[in-house]
């Protein structure tokens, strides 16, 4: 199984390293043709407005949207979640999310860097205790559609979930040093 990591901007290296430790065949994706050979993709954190522009200039927007619509398994974290959402509040006017995930997110909803935080999360389906949630200028999930299964919440707000094979987290599993969520995703979609 070959797993791509969208590498236009942001924390793509951390996802790639986590997946390599798990023994996955990892490919960084910056060009449209690099989408052809992958069986799943990670959409990393970063600056969503920058990645949004680079999706256009790289020619990746249309083919990536098509593959996600066709059911390419994906794990979208933080900015990646914003990219996938059907609705973004507090984004830039010219920001156009791919609309492949039926959720509404509020960009930077957890505040500025000063308010960024860590907190333990209880994740459904994850054995061996809590998962360290690292939230950095993170988006708040304000609504999830009926197709979404919520896997973790913080104060009643979904922070981790999946709609079939499209997984999302408003936090950064790749910064936690804990590979269990990457492992769980790989097991589920393999």
């Amino acid at each position: 199984m070959k797993i791509g990591v969208l590498a236009l901007q942001g924390a793509f290296r951390e996802h790639a390293e986590a997946l390599q430790v798990l023994g996955a065949d990892v490919a960084l994706v910056k060009r449209p043709e690099e989408l052809d050979s992958i069986d799943a993709i990670f959409l990393p954190g970063g600056e969503s407005t920058t990645i949004d522009k680079l999706l256009d200039s790289s020619g990746l927007r249309a083919p990536l949207t098509r593959r996600l619509r066709d059911g390419l398994p994906a794990f979208a974290t933080c900015a990646g979640l914003i990219l996938c959402a059907s609705e973004v509040i507090d984004g830039r006017a010219d920001q156009s999310p791919l609309g492949v995930l039926d959720v509404t997110v509020r960009r930077n909803g957890y505040g500025r860097q000063r308010e960024s935080f860590e907190t333990p999360l209880t994740v459904r389906g994850l054995a061996d205790g809590d998962f360290a949630g690292v939230f950095i200028r993170a988006p708040v999930v304000e609504r999830v559609g009926r197709s979404v299964e919520v896997l973790a919440e913080l104060d009643g707000v979904p922070v981790l979930g999946r709609a079939h094979d499209l997984w999302f987290a408003s936090f950064h599993p790749e910064l936690s040093g804990d590979l269990r969520l990457h492992q769980l995703f790989v097991n589920e979609v393999s």
């Binding site: 951390e14 960024s116 950095i136």
Partner: protein
């Protein structure tokens, strides 16, 4: 609100730097420039009253910017906003933290406030970026709590030569530390004037414990491609954008190049017709070398 939320951890502070990788952080002096930068795809903006080339031209003491100017920029954009404090001026850093800036640059571009001590950055919730010219300086800043290191380069010159020297020095010494025998790391620590536990960490990881970006002298897309290929993970562009003839177009070109730095066809495509780059300075013609500030 959950009681278990912890702010200002090393993971949260370094994490924002990791989110900026592959991006361009642009110096802006007002809300209008900040919007142009964000429109072009900047991952963050650096709010300051004068870009380095103007500080160099005007002389005098350069200080932290007026809070109302920083707030104006925070209102104008949605991307992270950074701002500079003077080296060792922890009270300016406290003000910047109170304003809610996302990163503080303890910067040699401003006039130093302390000739022996940098800010004790562990005491702050807001993360700090610091400049370095070599590995020892980088590790001393990390020991003080810096969460992101940038080359100093020579700010405000539009001349990439110093940034290249600093990157090669930092990355070259990392390679040498990596292959040193364990018992030689104590001598390395002495030579670098840096804590031995950080030397150990560099030797084991083969890189700095925090991200390494490039600053100081980037004026063209090819400059950005050069330093990214050398091993920088993102770039700061100061005077290079807004001292050029077409800031918006140049900013977009540098953003694309920083992503596709290893694809010369793309660098060639976006480098066409950008108009005049900033004029630039020869190192020999400078009265003041900003990179020499910091200890």
């Amino acid at each position: 609100m959950s009681d278990e939320r912890t702010t200002g951890t090393a993971r949260v502070k370094r994490g924002l730097a990791e989110m900026l990788r592959g991006g361009v952080i642009m110096d802006v002096v007002d809300a209008e420039q900040a919007k142009i930068a964000e429109d072009a795809g900047a991952v963050a903006v650096m709010a300051l009253e004068r870009v380095p080339s103007d500080i160099r031209r005007d002389g005098g003491v350069a200080r932290m910017s007026d809070p109302s100017m920083i707030e104006g920029i925070q209102k104008a954009v949605t991307v992270p906003v950074m701002a500079k404090c003077r080296i060792g001026h922890f009270a300016e850093a406290q003000v910047l933290q109170a304003l809610g800036v996302d990163y503080v640059d303890e910067s040699e571009v401003l006039t130093p406030a302390d000739e022996a001590n940098h800010v004790d950055k562990w005491r702050f919730t807001v993360p700090f970026v610091c400049g370095a010219t070599n590995l020892g300086e980088a590790l001393r800043r990390i020991a003080e709590g810096a969460c992101l290191i940038r080359s100093k380069g020579e700010a405000g010159t539009g001349n990439i030569v110093e940034a290249v020297r600093h990157l090669r020095s930092i990355l070259g010494d990392i390679e040498r530390v990596k292959v040193a025998r364990p018992e030689e790391r104590y001598a390395w620590a002495k030579e670098l004037r840096a804590p031995v536990d950080l030397v150990d960490e560099v030797a084991e990881r083969g890189e700095l414990p925090v991200p390494l970006f490039c600053a100081g002298g980037i004026a063209t897309p090819a400059d950005a491609a050069l330093v990214m290929q050398l091993g920088a993970q993102a770039v700061f562009v100061g005077s290079g954008i807004f001292k050029s003839s077409d800031p918006s177009k140049r900013a977009r070109a540098i953003v694309e190049t920083t992503t596709h730095y290893d694809d010369a066809d793309i660098v060639a495509k976006v480098s066409r017709g950008l108009g005049e780059a900033m004029r630039g300075e020869e190192m020999g013609a400078l009265d003041v070398k900003l990179a020499e500030r910091g200890w």
